[in-house]
């Protein structure tokens, strides 16, 4: 990391201006998908436009570059700026060695990055940062406190924006070999593994606090008050039923039960159990 920080310092003012502009424009990368065929291509081209305009002052070359990027694009927003920075550096190469450089490499590298980058981005940002943000937010929202949504937004967006910003610079300075090296060195895998621990603990917390139902049935006793079945269950493990239900749902999803179907099944079962008075 220290190497890349050094190379950040070497960037010229114009480079920085361009990268900051890419960073800001990347915020609307998924705002207007112009049809199924292009799948977010307009947003990507619009994001790297500062680089294209800078390196291709000639209208024909600019049009050529814009047409080149009319290919489907989709990377988790907060890490996708890495691909944008990288593409900017490759477009620069192409402009400097126009005619000798093979521009089709730009598109194929961008496309090749989509899988691995989204894999990292989805598990870090969607799986983990969002789990923590939601768990803290839901906890703080109890009683209707405004802290809930505010903490949720801050905990998600501060790491989100930092990632988005630094990865723009990193993509521009580190080049295409960076991702494959990071994967080969095994550090990314360690990072994902550790992040998974945090995510799982937060899921455990949320299972405990957000899945709530009890058994309402009781066992009649001779000469005494009837005993609730729930009392016995609580002696075994408080919250054993919600925990089990969560694992059953997980198993169903793993067996490729459709998510919408699962939502309706669980809702139906819950309704019936509540209607007849079992829960």
């Amino acid at each position: 990391m220290s190497n890349s920080m050094l190379s950040f310092k070497k960037l010229s003012t114009e480079d920085r201006k361009m990268l900051n502009s890419i960073f800001w424009r990347s915020l609307m990368v998924f705002a207007g998908p112009c049809g199924a065929a292009y799948r977010q291509a307009p947003g990507f081209t619009n994001s790297i436009m500062p680089a294209l305009v800078r390196y291709y002052p000639e209208k024909e070359k600019l049009a050529e570059a814009m047409v080149r990027h009319m290919t489907p694009y989709n990377i988790t927003q907060n890490v996708g700026t890495f691909a944008m920075g990288l593409v900017a550096s490759m477009e620069k190469e192409n402009a400097e060695n126009y005619g000798e450089y093979d521009p089709s490499a730009i598109v194929s590298i961008k496309t090749a990055l989509m899988g691995p980058m989204s894999g990292i981005g989805d598990s870090i940002y969607w799986g983990i940062v969002r789990s923590i943000a939601a768990a803290v937010g839901i906890g703080a929202a109890a009683g209707g406190s405004i802290l809930g949504p505010i903490l949720f937004l801050l905990i998600y967006n501060i790491p989100g924006m930092l990632g988005r910003y630094y990865l723009t610079y990193l993509g521009y300075t580190m080049g295409e070999s960076f991702i494959s090296q990071a994967f080969k060195s095994g550090l990314i895998q360690i990072l994902i593994k550790c992040a998974g621990i945090i995510g799982m603990m937060m899921v455990g917390y949320m299972v405990a606090t957000t899945v709530t139902f009890n058994i309402a049935l009781s066992i009649p006793m001779q000469d005494a008050e009837p005993v609730l079945i729930q009392t016995y269950l609580d002696q075994l493990l408080v919250g054993v039923l919600p925990l089990s239900l969560s694992f059953v749902c997980y198993y169903a999803l793993k067996k490729n039960v459709n998510l919408n179907a699962l939502i309706f099944i669980v809702m139906g079962i819950g309704f019936v159990l509540g209607f007849v008075g079992i829960c």
Binding site: M28, A135, G204, T210, N260, F264, F271
Partner: protein
């Protein structure tokens, strides 16, 4: 507040959250916990909005836009259930169970909206072929506005036309039905958690779910404290993994492990 004002304010909340989210880098203002807050704020009952939003957040934990495919549309679900909870006096449980079918219905509508977007494809192609950089930004903004504005109109109509019917129906619910809705809403959180588990679970880390569960159930620790525990544990394990990893690399390469200053300090 008249029916019309309510419908207008609720659809405004919908547009701000849903359209705004995609204009400002998917900053999560489309998540139920935020949508509930904004809708409640506009309709004059913020705390109800936040409470329902937080409950729906747990249910829709799994409903995120990954790879362009959504499973449910939580924004319309949250706006409608918060609106009807505030104006028609629905209880939280009733509002939550109402949200589920709404979210699913609007999700299937979403496919129609996506097809609508194809009308912009020829303009986009032309803009690129002529190297019109400003035109590209314009067409993105136009397609963004059109897409979310049409959705907003539909939400507006649903609330404007549906609120009386919902109020009447919900006021006449018998006790067993209300109880059924309560249990169903309590169980639905499990589905959201299952989606997260599917994303995160490995054989090595499944135990940590139980730790988080137990810390909450038996020690009643708040989320922030559990998050701090989790971070400390993850860093400790990560440092160990790194050490093992470096050793393995050194053994493969036949070289020696370089000791860092940090290790000396803690030795």
């Amino acid at each position: 507040m008249s029916n019309l004002t309510v419908a207008l304010l609720a659809s405004l909340a919908y547009f701000i959250c849903y359209a705004g989210n995609w204009l400002i880098g998917q900053c999560m203002i489309e998540r139920p916990i935020v949508v509930g807050w904004i809708t409640g704020l506009l309709l004059g009952d913020m705390s109800t909005g936040i409470i329902i939003g937080a409950a729906l957040e747990a249910i829709y934990m799994g409903a995120v836009n990954i790879g362009g495919a959504t499973s449910a549309e939580p924004v319309s679900a949250t706006v409608m259930s918060v609106t009807f909870a505030i104006t028609a006096g629905l209880t939280m449980e009733e509002a939550i169970t109402l949200a589920v079918p709404v979210g699913l219905a609007f999700n299937s509508l979403g496919i129609v909206f996506m097809m609508l977007n194809n009308i912009f494809a020829p303009r986009y192609k032309k803009v690129c072929e002529t190297g019109n950089s400003k035109g590209l930004t314009q067409i993105i903004l136009i397609s963004w506005f059109t897409l979310y504005f049409v959705r907003t109109i539909i939400i507006f109509l649903c609330i404007y036309l549906g609120s009386e019917a919902v109020t009447a129906a919900m006021n006449s619910l018998p006790q067993p039905v209300t109880n059924g809705l309560t249990v169903a809403s309590g169980m639905l959180g499990a589905v959201g958690m299952a989606v997260l588990m599917k994303m995160l679970i490995t054989r090595d880390n499944v135990g940590w779910l139980f730790i988080g569960f137990l810390l909450s159930k038996y020690l009643n620790l708040p989320a922030m404290v559990i998050a701090i525990f989790a971070v400390v544990i993850a860093i400790t394990i990560g440092m160990n993994e790194k050490k093992v990893h470096d050793l393995e690399a050194a053994m493969e390469g036949g070289g020696t492990v370089t000791k860092s200053e940090e290790e000396d300090f803690f030795a």
